[in-house]
């Protein structure tokens, strides 16, 4: 350890013995300060980074000639309504098979069930999901349904997100209005 020589440096007359002083400094205050700063920086650092969910939408302008044909019975259309309600149906909507109204808690079971049924009926083909968020739904609903798709792995065929209000069919509108979930 370095030592401080604090004796007077003069050489007057006899030898002056420099007094040895302790080199110890009281570090308590310094440690206190250091830990205070540590606490501050720990609290202000955002440790958990937010996550990003990738969304791909089809190009609006390209008129693709070689579109893939899909069987109606292979598709499941999910309508997001207001008050956190979902209406879904398989294939084409008809008065005989009205859409099912569900909350977000039950949609996972339905997705898994439909995925299984399509696979059995269509000889191993995967389900295709069409999502139509209507004007009454919220952003959270949309994120939730995309999340459910990735949890149930029903997004093997990229889900089609159709949010154009003009694409909402009259039969769909009528049904949703009757159920009170259309804005």
């Amino acid at each position: 350890m370095a030592e401080l020589n604090t004796g007077g440096g003069g050489d007057k007359g006899g030898k002056v013995r420099s007094k040895k002083q302790s080199t110890r400094v009281d570090l308590t205050a310094m440690v206190d300060l250091a830990f205070l700063l540590i606490t501050f920086f720990m609290l202000t650092t955002s440790l958990s980074k937010p996550l990003a969910m990738d969304i791909a939408k089809p190009d609006k302008d390209i008129k693709d000639e070689n579109r893939k044909e899909l069987k109606a019975s292979q598709t499941m259309t999910i309508l997001l309504g207001k008050n956190n309600k979902i209406a879904w149906y398989m294939g084409v909507p008809s008065p005989n098979t009205p859409p099912t109204i569900e909350g977000f808690a039950d949609i996972r079971a339905s997705l898994l069930k439909n995925k299984q049924e399509v696979k059995e009926k269509m000889g191993g083909k995967d389900i295709v999901i069409v999502i139509k968020p209507t004007d009454g739904s919220t952003y959270k609903n949309f994120v939730d349904i995309m999340d459910e798709l990735s949890i149930t792995k029903t997004n093997i065929n990229a889900p089609a997100i159709d949010d154009d209000p003009a694409h909402l069919m009259d039969s769909e509108k009528d049904f949703m209005r009757a159920q009170g979930i259309l804005k």
Partner: protein
């Protein structure tokens, strides 16, 4: 009987090692810290189970809440270049000092007319002022949000030679039509792939 003398020991502890560790940790936290800036919009992002982390460069974040849109560009050089380009488009000249001030700003939601004045305010004045009305997204084809995204994409492509990612950070209860309006602006310039920023949620079994 002689009393047993208990030797008095000093109560002072050697703090050198403790001090060393404390400062080591302090240095670590200071260097890794990216201080959290207050968000002008109070946004509660919905949660999801996705595992993909938001990248920390070449990114634009569109914050959407209460019907307003704020833009945050990551990277000081990108912000600077984008503002230069925007100034050229809208006929506004920015001084070197203003460019510097803009480069350290986080998210902003100011129409271009008020931009110069807004940059020269102190952070307290900014929150108090009624300038932050969101970036205008009107029905015209080339609205300001469109321009901001377009110019920042140019800036990223020129400076970093890569494609800029666009992320949407939406407030959970925000109504879908607002989101749709923003997505339409993105799709108009062929940004068909973007990401939604969510907070973490315990993975479902």
């Amino acid at each position: 009987m002689p009393r047993v003398k208990v030797p008095r020991k000093s109560t002072s502890v050697d703090m050198t090692a403790m001090c060393d560790v404390a400062f080591l940790l302090l240095t670590f936290f200071i260097l890794t810290a990216t201080s959290r800036q207050p968000d002008p919009l109070d946004i509660k992002t919905p949660s999801s189970t996705v595992q993909f982390k938001v990248p920390d460069k070449d990114l634009a974040i569109l914050s959407i809440g209460k019907g307003k849109v704020f833009v945050e560009l990551i990277g000081q050089d990108i912000k600077r270049e984008t503002l230069l380009k925007m100034g050229a488009l809208y006929g506004a000249k920015f001084t070197e000092a203003e460019l510097k001030r803009f480069a350290v700003m986080s998210s902003f939601g100011v129409p271009m007319q008020g931009m110069k004045q807004f940059i020269n305010m102190s952070p307290e004045e900014r929150t108090k002022s009624k300038f932050e009305t969101g970036i205008p997204v009107d029905s015209t084809a080339n609205n300001e949000l469109y321009r901001w995204i377009e110019q920042s994409r140019y800036a990223v492509a020129e400076l970093h030679k890569t494609e800029m990612r666009v992320s949407i950070k939406g407030d959970g209860p925000e109504e879908y039509p607002v989101i749709r309006k923003i997505v339409e602006v993105l799709q108009k310039q062929k940004v068909n792939k973007f990401s939604l920023i969510t907070s973490a949620e315990a993975a479902a079994k």
